[in-house]
Protein backbone atom coordinates (compact mmCIF):
# COMPACT_ATOMS: atom_id res chain seq x y z
CA UNK A 1 0.00 0.00 0.00
CA UNK A 2 1.39 3.38 -1.03
CA UNK A 3 -0.32 6.32 0.56
CA UNK A 4 0.57 9.79 1.74
CA UNK A 5 -0.18 9.06 5.37
CA UNK A 6 1.63 8.82 8.66
CA UNK A 7 -0.09 5.72 9.96
CA UNK A 8 -3.40 4.06 9.20
CA UNK A 9 -4.64 4.87 12.70
CA UNK A 10 -4.15 8.62 12.36
CA UNK A 11 -5.37 9.23 8.81
CA UNK A 12 -8.57 10.95 9.81
CA UNK A 13 -7.15 13.14 12.55
CA UNK A 14 -4.22 14.18 10.36
CA UNK A 15 -6.45 14.97 7.41
CA UNK A 16 -8.72 17.11 9.58
CA UNK A 17 -5.72 19.23 10.52
CA UNK A 18 -5.18 19.88 6.84
CA UNK A 19 -8.81 20.80 6.31
CA UNK A 20 -8.65 23.34 9.09
CA UNK A 21 -5.33 24.74 7.89
CA UNK A 22 -6.52 25.09 4.30
CA UNK A 23 -9.92 26.54 5.10
CA UNK A 24 -9.84 29.20 7.79
CA UNK A 25 -13.61 29.65 7.32
CA UNK A 26 -14.50 26.30 8.83
CA UNK A 27 -13.80 25.12 12.33
CA UNK A 28 -12.85 21.64 13.31
CA UNK A 29 -13.87 19.93 16.53
CA UNK A 30 -11.16 17.30 16.73
CA UNK A 31 -12.61 15.40 19.66
CA UNK A 32 -15.88 14.89 17.84
CA UNK A 33 -14.49 14.96 14.31
CA UNK A 34 -16.97 17.55 13.29
CA UNK A 35 -16.25 20.17 10.64
CA UNK A 36 -18.62 23.10 10.91
CA UNK A 37 -19.12 26.60 9.66
CA UNK A 38 -17.21 28.96 11.81
CA UNK A 39 -18.86 32.14 12.92
CA UNK A 40 -21.51 32.63 10.33
CA UNK A 41 -24.32 30.53 11.75
CA UNK A 42 -27.40 32.65 11.39
CA UNK A 43 -29.75 32.69 14.33
CA UNK A 44 -33.10 31.20 13.50
CA UNK A 45 -32.08 29.35 10.35
CA UNK A 46 -32.56 25.61 9.83
CA UNK A 47 -29.21 23.84 10.11
CA UNK A 48 -28.05 21.02 7.84
CA UNK A 49 -25.84 18.19 9.01
CA UNK A 50 -24.49 15.30 7.07
CA UNK A 51 -21.77 12.81 7.69
CA UNK A 52 -20.56 9.38 6.92
CA UNK A 53 -17.45 7.32 6.70
CA UNK A 54 -14.32 9.11 5.56
CA UNK A 55 -12.67 8.34 2.24
CA UNK A 56 -15.36 10.01 0.12
CA UNK A 57 -13.85 13.50 0.16
CA UNK A 58 -14.81 16.19 -0.61
CA UNK A 59 -18.05 14.65 0.72
CA UNK A 60 -18.99 15.80 3.36
CA UNK A 61 -16.52 18.23 4.93
CA UNK A 62 -15.83 19.91 1.59
CA UNK A 63 -19.47 20.95 1.43
CA UNK A 64 -19.60 22.82 4.72
CA UNK A 65 -20.19 26.49 4.25
CA UNK A 66 -22.59 29.15 3.10
CA UNK A 67 -25.52 27.71 1.17
CA UNK A 68 -24.77 24.11 1.95
CA UNK A 69 -23.99 22.17 5.13
CA UNK A 70 -23.62 23.61 8.60
CA UNK A 71 -21.64 20.65 9.85
CA UNK A 72 -20.18 17.37 8.66
CA UNK A 73 -19.44 14.41 10.89
CA UNK A 74 -16.48 12.33 9.77
CA UNK A 75 -16.38 8.65 10.60
CA UNK A 76 -13.34 6.47 10.29
CA UNK A 77 -12.55 5.44 6.73
CA UNK A 78 -15.63 3.77 5.24
CA UNK A 79 -17.22 3.56 8.71
CA UNK A 80 -20.20 5.65 9.67
CA UNK A 81 -19.66 8.20 12.40
CA UNK A 82 -21.17 7.65 15.82
CA UNK A 83 -24.24 9.19 17.46
CA UNK A 84 -22.22 11.24 19.92
CA UNK A 85 -20.40 12.95 17.04
CA UNK A 86 -23.71 13.71 15.43
CA UNK A 87 -25.16 14.98 18.66
CA UNK A 88 -22.17 17.26 19.19
CA UNK A 89 -22.64 18.63 15.68
CA UNK A 90 -26.34 19.06 16.32
CA UNK A 91 -25.98 21.03 19.50
CA UNK A 92 -23.22 23.10 17.90
CA UNK A 93 -25.20 24.24 14.88
CA UNK A 94 -28.82 24.22 15.98
CA UNK A 95 -30.05 27.78 15.90
CA UNK A 96 -33.47 27.03 17.27
CA UNK A 97 -35.13 26.29 13.94
CA UNK A 98 -34.33 22.62 13.89
CA UNK A 99 -31.82 20.44 12.14
CA UNK A 100 -31.98 18.36 8.98
CA UNK A 101 -29.87 15.22 8.85
CA UNK A 102 -28.87 14.17 5.35
CA UNK A 103 -28.23 10.46 5.57
CA UNK A 104 -26.88 8.13 2.94
CA UNK A 105 -28.67 4.81 3.04
CA UNK A 106 -26.14 2.48 4.61
CA UNK A 107 -27.12 0.48 7.66
CA UNK A 108 -24.41 2.06 9.77
CA UNK A 109 -25.26 5.62 8.81
CA UNK A 110 -28.97 5.03 9.21
CA UNK A 111 -28.69 3.41 12.64
CA UNK A 112 -26.23 5.95 14.00
CA UNK A 113 -28.18 8.94 12.74
CA UNK A 114 -31.32 7.36 14.20
CA UNK A 115 -29.68 7.10 17.60
CA UNK A 116 -28.44 10.66 17.26
CA UNK A 117 -31.91 11.91 16.42
CA UNK A 118 -33.23 10.18 19.55
CA UNK A 119 -30.53 11.83 21.65
CA UNK A 120 -31.20 15.22 20.06
CA UNK A 121 -34.91 14.87 20.67
CA UNK A 122 -34.14 14.12 24.30
CA UNK A 123 -32.32 17.45 24.40
CA UNK A 124 -35.30 19.20 22.88
CA UNK A 125 -33.83 19.80 19.42
CA UNK A 126 -36.15 19.20 16.51
CA UNK A 127 -34.55 16.91 13.94
CA UNK A 128 -35.77 15.62 10.63
CA UNK A 129 -33.86 13.25 8.41
CA UNK A 130 -33.75 12.73 4.69
CA UNK A 131 -32.47 9.45 3.38
CA UNK A 132 -30.61 9.30 0.09
CA UNK A 133 -30.96 5.94 -1.65
CA UNK A 134 -30.24 6.61 -5.27
CA UNK A 135 -27.99 3.83 -6.51
CA UNK A 136 -29.85 2.05 -9.29
CA UNK A 137 -27.24 -0.69 -9.35
CA UNK A 138 -29.05 -2.19 -6.37
CA UNK A 139 -31.97 -3.77 -8.13
CA UNK A 140 -33.69 -5.97 -5.58
CA UNK A 141 -34.00 -3.33 -2.94
CA UNK A 142 -36.68 -5.28 -1.10
CA UNK A 143 -34.20 -8.06 -0.48
CA UNK A 144 -31.35 -5.83 0.59
CA UNK A 145 -30.67 -3.02 2.99
CA UNK A 146 -32.15 -0.92 0.20
CA UNK A 147 -30.47 1.20 -2.37
CA UNK A 148 -27.22 2.82 -1.41
CA UNK A 149 -26.92 6.55 -1.11
CA UNK A 150 -24.38 8.03 -3.49
CA UNK A 151 -24.06 11.09 -5.75
CA UNK A 152 -27.53 12.51 -5.17
CA UNK A 153 -26.31 13.33 -1.67
CA UNK A 154 -24.24 16.18 -3.09
CA UNK A 155 -27.27 17.57 -4.87
CA UNK A 156 -29.47 17.28 -1.78
CA UNK A 157 -26.87 19.09 0.28
CA UNK A 158 -26.60 21.91 -2.25
CA UNK A 159 -30.27 22.41 -2.92
CA UNK A 160 -31.53 21.92 0.63
CA UNK A 161 -28.67 24.13 1.81
CA UNK A 162 -29.87 26.92 -0.45
CA UNK A 163 -33.42 26.44 0.84
CA UNK A 164 -32.22 26.71 4.43
CA UNK A 165 -30.20 29.77 3.57
CA UNK A 166 -33.39 31.39 2.27
CA UNK A 167 -34.85 30.98 5.72
CA UNK A 168 -37.40 28.28 5.03
CA UNK A 169 -38.62 26.25 7.97
CA UNK A 170 -37.58 22.69 8.75
CA UNK A 171 -40.63 21.12 7.14
CA UNK A 172 -40.01 23.03 3.92
CA UNK A 173 -36.31 22.26 3.83
CA UNK A 174 -37.10 18.62 4.52
CA UNK A 175 -39.65 18.65 1.75
CA UNK A 176 -37.29 19.91 -0.94
CA UNK A 177 -34.50 17.64 0.29
CA UNK A 178 -36.84 14.69 -0.01
CA UNK A 179 -37.92 15.79 -3.45
CA UNK A 180 -34.32 15.95 -4.63
CA UNK A 181 -33.55 12.63 -3.04
CA UNK A 182 -36.49 10.99 -4.75
CA UNK A 183 -35.64 12.39 -8.15
CA UNK A 184 -31.95 11.55 -8.22
CA UNK A 185 -30.46 8.35 -9.58
CA UNK A 186 -26.86 7.18 -9.71
CA UNK A 187 -24.69 4.38 -10.92
CA UNK A 188 -20.95 3.85 -10.69
CA UNK A 189 -18.25 1.78 -12.30
CA UNK A 190 -14.93 0.72 -10.81
CA UNK A 191 -11.76 0.01 -12.73
CA UNK A 192 -9.80 -0.81 -9.61
CA UNK A 193 -10.51 -1.47 -5.96
CA UNK A 194 -9.92 1.04 -3.22
CA UNK A 195 -7.34 0.26 -0.56
CA UNK A 196 -8.46 0.99 3.00
CA UNK A 197 -5.44 2.28 4.95
CA UNK A 198 -6.08 0.05 7.94
CA UNK A 199 -6.32 -2.98 5.68
CA UNK A 200 -3.32 -2.25 3.53
CA UNK A 201 -4.44 -4.12 0.46
CA UNK A 202 -7.18 -3.70 -2.12
CA UNK A 203 -10.64 -4.55 -0.79
CA UNK A 204 -11.34 -6.72 -3.79
CA UNK A 205 -9.46 -8.17 -6.71
CA UNK A 206 -10.34 -6.97 -10.14
CA UNK A 207 -8.39 -8.61 -12.96
CA UNK A 208 -6.57 -6.32 -15.37
CA UNK A 209 -9.21 -6.78 -18.02
CA UNK A 210 -12.35 -6.53 -15.91
CA UNK A 211 -14.41 -3.75 -14.43
CA UNK A 212 -17.18 -3.74 -11.83
CA UNK A 213 -20.39 -2.19 -13.16
CA UNK A 214 -22.63 -0.69 -10.50
CA UNK A 215 -20.02 -0.58 -7.77
CA UNK A 216 -20.79 1.14 -4.47
CA UNK A 217 -18.65 3.88 -2.99
CA UNK A 218 -17.05 1.48 -0.53
CA UNK A 219 -16.24 -1.01 -3.19
CA UNK A 220 -19.41 -2.97 -2.57
CA UNK A 221 -19.93 -5.02 -5.69
CA UNK A 222 -22.48 -4.01 -8.22
CA UNK A 223 -24.55 -5.62 -10.90
CA UNK A 224 -21.86 -7.52 -12.65
CA UNK A 225 -18.26 -7.85 -13.49
CA UNK A 226 -17.66 -7.32 -17.16
CA UNK A 227 -14.69 -7.05 -19.45
CA UNK A 228 -12.92 -3.74 -19.82
CA UNK A 229 -14.57 -1.84 -22.64
CA UNK A 230 -14.56 1.53 -24.37
CA UNK A 231 -15.79 4.54 -22.43
CA UNK A 232 -18.71 4.94 -24.81
CA UNK A 233 -20.06 1.52 -23.87
CA UNK A 234 -19.55 2.11 -20.18
CA UNK A 235 -21.37 5.43 -20.47
CA UNK A 236 -24.19 3.74 -22.35
CA UNK A 237 -24.62 1.24 -19.54
CA UNK A 238 -24.63 3.91 -16.84
CA UNK A 239 -27.04 6.14 -18.72
CA UNK A 240 -29.44 3.43 -19.77
CA UNK A 241 -29.53 1.88 -16.29
CA UNK A 242 -30.46 5.22 -14.80
CA UNK A 243 -33.00 6.08 -17.46
CA UNK A 244 -34.60 2.65 -17.15
CA UNK A 245 -35.23 3.41 -13.50
CA UNK A 246 -36.88 6.82 -13.71
CA UNK A 247 -38.53 8.76 -16.47
CA UNK A 248 -36.33 11.77 -17.15
CA UNK A 249 -38.18 13.05 -20.16
CA UNK A 250 -39.48 16.57 -20.25
CA UNK A 251 -37.58 17.87 -17.26
CA UNK A 252 -34.28 19.71 -16.99
CA UNK A 253 -31.54 17.52 -15.61
CA UNK A 254 -28.68 18.27 -13.25
CA UNK A 255 -25.83 15.91 -14.08
CA UNK A 256 -22.94 15.00 -11.80
CA UNK A 257 -20.08 12.92 -13.15
CA UNK A 258 -17.86 12.24 -10.20
CA UNK A 259 -14.51 10.56 -10.15
CA UNK A 260 -13.98 7.90 -7.52
CA UNK A 261 -10.63 9.27 -6.37
CA UNK A 262 -8.05 7.60 -8.56
CA UNK A 263 -9.25 8.69 -11.98
CA UNK A 264 -7.74 11.75 -13.64
CA UNK A 265 -9.91 14.63 -14.79
CA UNK A 266 -9.15 14.05 -18.46
CA UNK A 267 -10.92 10.70 -18.24
CA UNK A 268 -13.84 12.22 -16.36
CA UNK A 269 -14.32 14.83 -19.07
CA UNK A 270 -14.07 12.12 -21.67
CA UNK A 271 -16.77 10.12 -19.90
CA UNK A 272 -18.92 13.20 -19.50
CA UNK A 273 -18.63 13.83 -23.23
CA UNK A 274 -20.04 10.36 -23.86
CA UNK A 275 -22.80 10.84 -21.30
CA UNK A 276 -23.79 14.21 -22.71
CA UNK A 277 -23.98 12.79 -26.22
CA UNK A 278 -26.15 9.89 -25.07
CA UNK A 279 -28.52 12.17 -23.20
CA UNK A 280 -28.80 14.48 -26.17
CA UNK A 281 -29.63 11.50 -28.41
CA UNK A 282 -32.44 10.66 -26.05
CA UNK A 283 -33.76 14.19 -26.05
CA UNK A 284 -32.80 14.89 -22.45
CA UNK A 285 -31.56 18.39 -21.68
CA UNK A 286 -28.79 18.81 -19.16
CA UNK A 287 -29.43 22.13 -17.48
CA UNK A 288 -26.42 22.06 -15.14
CA UNK A 289 -23.37 19.80 -15.00
CA UNK A 290 -20.58 19.08 -12.56
CA UNK A 291 -17.54 17.04 -13.55
CA UNK A 292 -14.82 16.22 -11.05
CA UNK A 293 -14.19 14.48 -7.76
CA UNK A 294 -17.23 15.11 -5.57
CA UNK A 295 -18.03 11.76 -4.01
CA UNK A 296 -15.12 9.39 -4.05
CA UNK A 297 -13.99 6.05 -2.78
CA UNK A 298 -10.42 6.59 -1.62
CA UNK A 299 -8.07 5.76 -4.47
CA UNK A 300 -10.52 3.75 -6.54
CA UNK A 301 -10.31 4.32 -10.28
CA UNK A 302 -13.67 4.78 -11.92
CA UNK A 303 -16.57 7.16 -11.86
CA UNK A 304 -20.19 7.52 -10.94
CA UNK A 305 -22.95 9.25 -12.81
CA UNK A 306 -25.81 11.00 -11.06
CA UNK A 307 -28.80 12.47 -12.84
CA UNK A 308 -31.39 14.56 -11.06
CA UNK A 309 -34.77 15.13 -12.62
CA UNK A 310 -34.95 18.75 -11.63
CA UNK A 311 -37.68 21.36 -11.59
CA UNK A 312 -37.49 25.12 -11.77
CA UNK A 313 -37.24 25.50 -8.03
CA UNK A 314 -34.37 23.04 -7.79
CA UNK A 315 -32.51 24.86 -10.55
CA UNK A 316 -33.02 28.19 -8.85
CA UNK A 317 -31.72 26.79 -5.56
CA UNK A 318 -28.86 25.08 -7.38
CA UNK A 319 -27.80 28.43 -8.79
CA UNK A 320 -27.98 30.16 -5.42
CA UNK A 321 -24.64 31.25 -3.95
CA UNK A 322 -22.52 28.59 -2.32
CA UNK A 323 -19.18 28.97 -0.62
CA UNK A 324 -17.58 25.73 0.44
CA UNK A 325 -14.19 24.14 -0.09
CA UNK A 326 -15.39 22.01 -2.97
CA UNK A 327 -18.29 23.91 -4.47
CA UNK A 328 -18.33 27.64 -4.87
CA UNK A 329 -20.14 30.15 -6.97
CA UNK A 330 -22.03 33.40 -6.74
CA UNK A 331 -19.84 34.62 -3.93
Amino acid sequence: MKKLINSPATVLADALRGVEAAHPDVSVDYANRVVSRGADVKQGRVALISGGGSGHEPLHSGFVGLGMLDAACAGEVFTSPTPDQMLAATTAVDAGAGVLYIVKNYTGDVLNFEMAAELAAAEGIEVKSVLVADDVAVEDSTWTAGRRGTGTTVLVEKIAGAAAEEGRDLAAVHEIATRVSENGRSMGVALTSATVPAVGKPSFDLPDDEIEMGVGIHGEPGRKRVSLRPASEIAEELVSSILADLDFSGAPVIALLSGLGGTPLIELYLMYGEVAALLEQRGITVARALVGDYITSLDMAGCSLTLLRADEEMLRLWDAPVNTAALRWGV
Binding site: T79, R148, G222
Partner: protein, 219 residues
Amino acid sequence: MRTLEDSRLTVDDLIAWLVRFDDEIVEQAGFLTELDSAIGDADHGTNMARGTAAVRVRLTETPSGDAGAVLKSVGMALVSTVGGASGSLYGTLFLEMAKSVGTASELDTAVFADAFRAGVAGVVARGRAEPGDKTMIDALQPSVEALSAAASDGVPLAESLQSAAAAAAAGRDATIPLVARKGRASYLGDRSADHLDPGATSAAILVQALADSHAERTR
Protein backbone atom coordinates in the same frame (compact mmCIF):
# COMPACT_ATOMS: atom_id res chain seq x y z
CA MET B 1 -10.95 -18.31 43.01
CA ARG B 2 -14.50 -19.51 43.18
CA THR B 3 -15.82 -23.02 42.82
CA LEU B 4 -17.76 -24.50 39.92
CA GLU B 5 -20.94 -24.21 41.94
CA ASP B 6 -20.79 -20.45 41.57
CA SER B 7 -23.95 -19.55 39.78
CA ARG B 8 -23.85 -15.80 39.58
CA LEU B 9 -22.06 -13.29 37.42
CA THR B 10 -20.55 -10.51 39.48
CA VAL B 11 -19.58 -7.08 38.25
CA ASP B 12 -15.99 -8.31 38.14
CA ASP B 13 -17.10 -11.25 36.02
CA LEU B 14 -18.67 -8.86 33.56
CA ILE B 15 -15.47 -6.84 33.44
CA ALA B 16 -13.37 -9.97 32.99
CA TRP B 17 -15.70 -10.98 30.15
CA LEU B 18 -15.18 -7.75 28.28
CA VAL B 19 -11.45 -7.70 28.86
CA ARG B 20 -11.31 -11.17 27.42
CA PHE B 21 -13.56 -10.07 24.56
CA ASP B 22 -11.02 -7.36 23.80
CA ASP B 23 -8.17 -9.89 23.87
CA GLU B 24 -10.00 -12.11 21.42
CA ILE B 25 -10.99 -9.26 19.15
CA VAL B 26 -7.43 -7.99 19.02
CA GLU B 27 -6.35 -11.45 18.00
CA GLN B 28 -9.15 -11.95 15.48
CA ALA B 29 -9.36 -8.42 14.08
CA GLY B 30 -7.48 -9.32 10.92
CA PHE B 31 -9.70 -12.33 10.36
CA LEU B 32 -12.89 -10.33 10.94
CA THR B 33 -11.75 -7.66 8.52
CA GLU B 34 -10.92 -10.31 6.00
CA LEU B 35 -14.42 -11.72 6.33
CA ASP B 36 -15.76 -8.20 5.87
CA SER B 37 -13.55 -7.71 2.79
CA ALA B 38 -15.23 -10.63 1.16
CA ILE B 39 -18.80 -9.45 1.61
CA GLY B 40 -18.61 -5.99 3.15
CA ASP B 41 -16.24 -3.05 3.33
CA ALA B 42 -13.25 -4.47 5.11
CA ASP B 43 -13.56 -2.72 8.42
CA HIS B 44 -15.35 -4.97 10.88
CA GLY B 45 -12.18 -6.07 12.67
CA THR B 46 -10.84 -2.53 12.84
CA ASN B 47 -14.18 -1.24 14.06
CA MET B 48 -14.55 -3.86 16.77
CA ALA B 49 -10.96 -3.54 17.92
CA ARG B 50 -11.34 0.22 18.28
CA GLY B 51 -14.47 -0.40 20.32
CA THR B 52 -13.30 -3.14 22.63
CA ALA B 53 -10.10 -1.21 23.33
CA ALA B 54 -12.22 1.75 24.42
CA VAL B 55 -14.40 -0.55 26.54
CA ARG B 56 -11.35 -2.00 28.23
CA VAL B 57 -9.99 1.44 29.04
CA ARG B 58 -13.30 2.55 30.52
CA LEU B 59 -13.79 -0.59 32.56
CA THR B 60 -10.28 -0.85 33.90
CA GLU B 61 -9.55 2.82 34.49
CA THR B 62 -12.75 4.03 36.12
CA PRO B 63 -14.62 2.75 39.18
CA SER B 64 -17.21 0.24 38.10
CA GLY B 65 -20.50 0.56 39.99
CA ASP B 66 -23.39 -1.89 39.66
CA ALA B 67 -23.98 -4.32 36.81
CA GLY B 68 -26.31 -1.93 35.03
CA ALA B 69 -23.75 0.85 35.22
CA VAL B 70 -21.03 -1.39 33.85
CA LEU B 71 -23.14 -2.64 30.97
CA LYS B 72 -24.30 0.87 30.15
CA SER B 73 -20.77 2.14 30.12
CA VAL B 74 -19.83 -0.71 27.78
CA GLY B 75 -22.73 0.16 25.51
CA MET B 76 -21.88 3.85 25.46
CA ALA B 77 -18.24 3.12 24.72
CA LEU B 78 -19.19 0.86 21.84
CA VAL B 79 -21.72 3.28 20.40
CA SER B 80 -19.25 6.13 20.49
CA THR B 81 -16.20 4.38 19.12
CA VAL B 82 -17.09 1.47 16.83
CA GLY B 83 -19.12 3.33 14.22
CA GLY B 84 -20.69 1.53 11.29
CA ALA B 85 -23.64 -0.81 11.62
CA SER B 86 -22.05 -2.91 14.31
CA GLY B 87 -21.35 0.03 16.63
CA SER B 88 -24.95 1.01 17.10
CA LEU B 89 -26.02 -2.63 17.24
CA TYR B 90 -23.49 -3.87 19.78
CA GLY B 91 -24.03 -0.64 21.66
CA THR B 92 -27.76 -1.27 21.74
CA LEU B 93 -27.17 -4.84 22.93
CA PHE B 94 -25.36 -3.61 26.02
CA LEU B 95 -27.54 -0.57 26.64
CA GLU B 96 -30.64 -2.79 26.65
CA MET B 97 -28.94 -5.35 28.86
CA ALA B 98 -28.09 -2.52 31.23
CA LYS B 99 -31.70 -1.42 31.39
CA SER B 100 -32.77 -5.00 32.02
CA VAL B 101 -30.42 -5.64 34.95
CA GLY B 102 -30.85 -2.26 36.57
CA THR B 103 -28.89 -1.78 39.77
CA ALA B 104 -28.20 -5.45 40.49
CA SER B 105 -24.67 -6.27 41.49
CA GLU B 106 -24.85 -10.00 40.79
CA LEU B 107 -26.76 -11.77 38.04
CA ASP B 108 -27.93 -15.37 38.23
CA THR B 109 -28.44 -17.43 35.08
CA ALA B 110 -32.09 -16.51 34.70
CA VAL B 111 -31.54 -12.80 35.24
CA PHE B 112 -28.61 -12.78 32.86
CA ALA B 113 -30.59 -14.79 30.29
CA ASP B 114 -33.41 -12.26 30.47
CA ALA B 115 -30.99 -9.40 30.12
CA PHE B 116 -29.33 -11.04 27.15
CA ARG B 117 -32.74 -11.59 25.56
CA ALA B 118 -33.63 -7.95 26.11
CA GLY B 119 -30.33 -6.91 24.57
CA VAL B 120 -30.81 -9.02 21.47
CA ALA B 121 -34.40 -7.83 21.16
CA GLY B 122 -32.97 -4.32 21.15
CA VAL B 123 -30.60 -5.24 18.35
CA VAL B 124 -33.49 -6.66 16.35
CA ALA B 125 -35.60 -3.60 17.00
CA ARG B 126 -32.82 -1.26 15.91
CA GLY B 127 -31.48 -3.21 12.95
CA ARG B 128 -34.74 -4.78 11.79
CA ALA B 129 -32.94 -7.97 10.77
CA GLU B 130 -34.62 -11.34 11.01
CA PRO B 131 -32.98 -14.69 11.63
CA GLY B 132 -31.64 -15.92 8.30
CA ASP B 133 -30.70 -12.45 7.05
CA LYS B 134 -27.04 -13.33 7.54
CA THR B 135 -26.25 -10.94 10.36
CA MET B 136 -25.10 -11.08 13.95
CA ILE B 137 -28.71 -11.98 14.81
CA ASP B 138 -28.05 -15.44 13.40
CA ALA B 139 -25.50 -16.02 16.15
CA LEU B 140 -27.20 -14.00 18.89
CA GLN B 141 -30.76 -15.32 18.64
CA PRO B 142 -29.94 -19.06 18.97
CA SER B 143 -27.56 -18.16 21.74
CA VAL B 144 -30.36 -16.40 23.62
CA GLU B 145 -32.62 -19.38 23.13
CA ALA B 146 -29.98 -21.79 24.38
CA LEU B 147 -29.26 -19.68 27.42
CA SER B 148 -32.94 -19.27 28.31
CA ALA B 149 -33.53 -22.99 27.91
CA ALA B 150 -30.57 -23.78 30.12
CA ALA B 151 -31.75 -21.30 32.69
CA SER B 152 -35.26 -22.68 32.87
CA ASP B 153 -33.84 -26.22 32.99
CA GLY B 154 -31.75 -25.21 36.01
CA VAL B 155 -28.48 -25.96 34.23
CA PRO B 156 -25.50 -24.53 36.14
CA LEU B 157 -24.25 -21.18 34.94
CA ALA B 158 -20.93 -22.36 33.52
CA GLU B 159 -22.62 -25.03 31.49
CA SER B 160 -25.37 -22.64 30.43
CA LEU B 161 -22.82 -20.21 29.13
CA GLN B 162 -21.03 -22.98 27.26
CA SER B 163 -24.23 -23.99 25.56
CA ALA B 164 -24.99 -20.37 24.71
CA ALA B 165 -21.53 -20.12 23.16
CA ALA B 166 -21.99 -23.37 21.27
CA ALA B 167 -25.31 -22.14 19.93
CA ALA B 168 -23.74 -18.88 18.84
CA ALA B 169 -20.97 -20.75 17.07
CA ALA B 170 -23.46 -23.00 15.34
CA GLY B 171 -25.50 -19.96 14.32
CA ARG B 172 -22.37 -18.29 13.06
CA ASP B 173 -21.49 -21.29 10.92
CA ALA B 174 -25.02 -21.49 9.64
CA THR B 175 -24.55 -18.06 8.07
CA ILE B 176 -22.15 -19.50 5.51
CA PRO B 177 -24.70 -20.67 2.94
CA LEU B 178 -27.06 -17.77 3.54
CA VAL B 179 -27.71 -14.96 1.09
CA ALA B 180 -27.50 -11.68 3.00
CA ARG B 181 -30.59 -9.50 3.20
CA LYS B 182 -29.33 -6.85 5.60
CA GLY B 183 -26.18 -4.74 5.85
CA ARG B 184 -23.64 -4.17 3.13
CA ALA B 185 -23.37 -7.83 2.27
CA SER B 186 -26.91 -7.72 0.92
CA TYR B 187 -25.65 -5.76 -2.11
CA LEU B 188 -23.79 -8.87 -3.19
CA GLY B 189 -27.01 -10.77 -3.76
CA ASP B 190 -26.24 -14.42 -4.40
CA ARG B 191 -22.56 -13.68 -4.27
CA SER B 192 -22.86 -13.26 -0.51
CA ALA B 193 -23.43 -16.98 -0.07
CA ASP B 194 -20.52 -19.25 0.88
CA HIS B 195 -19.06 -16.71 3.27
CA LEU B 196 -19.13 -16.41 7.04
CA ASP B 197 -20.87 -13.26 8.22
CA PRO B 198 -18.38 -11.03 10.04
CA GLY B 199 -20.88 -9.74 12.60
CA ALA B 200 -22.10 -13.25 13.41
CA THR B 201 -18.48 -14.21 13.87
CA SER B 202 -17.76 -11.39 16.29
CA ALA B 203 -21.01 -12.17 18.12
CA ALA B 204 -19.91 -15.77 18.58
CA ILE B 205 -16.59 -14.49 19.89
CA LEU B 206 -18.50 -12.32 22.37
CA VAL B 207 -20.49 -15.20 23.83
CA GLN B 208 -17.51 -17.54 23.81
CA ALA B 209 -15.47 -14.92 25.66
CA LEU B 210 -18.09 -14.92 28.41
CA ALA B 211 -18.14 -18.69 28.70
CA ASP B 212 -14.35 -18.86 28.68
CA SER B 213 -13.69 -16.04 31.10
CA HIS B 214 -16.27 -17.44 33.46
CA ALA B 215 -14.76 -20.91 33.21
CA GLU B 216 -11.32 -19.54 33.87
CA ARG B 217 -12.39 -17.54 36.87
CA THR B 218 -14.19 -20.49 38.45
CA ARG B 219 -11.59 -23.12 37.59
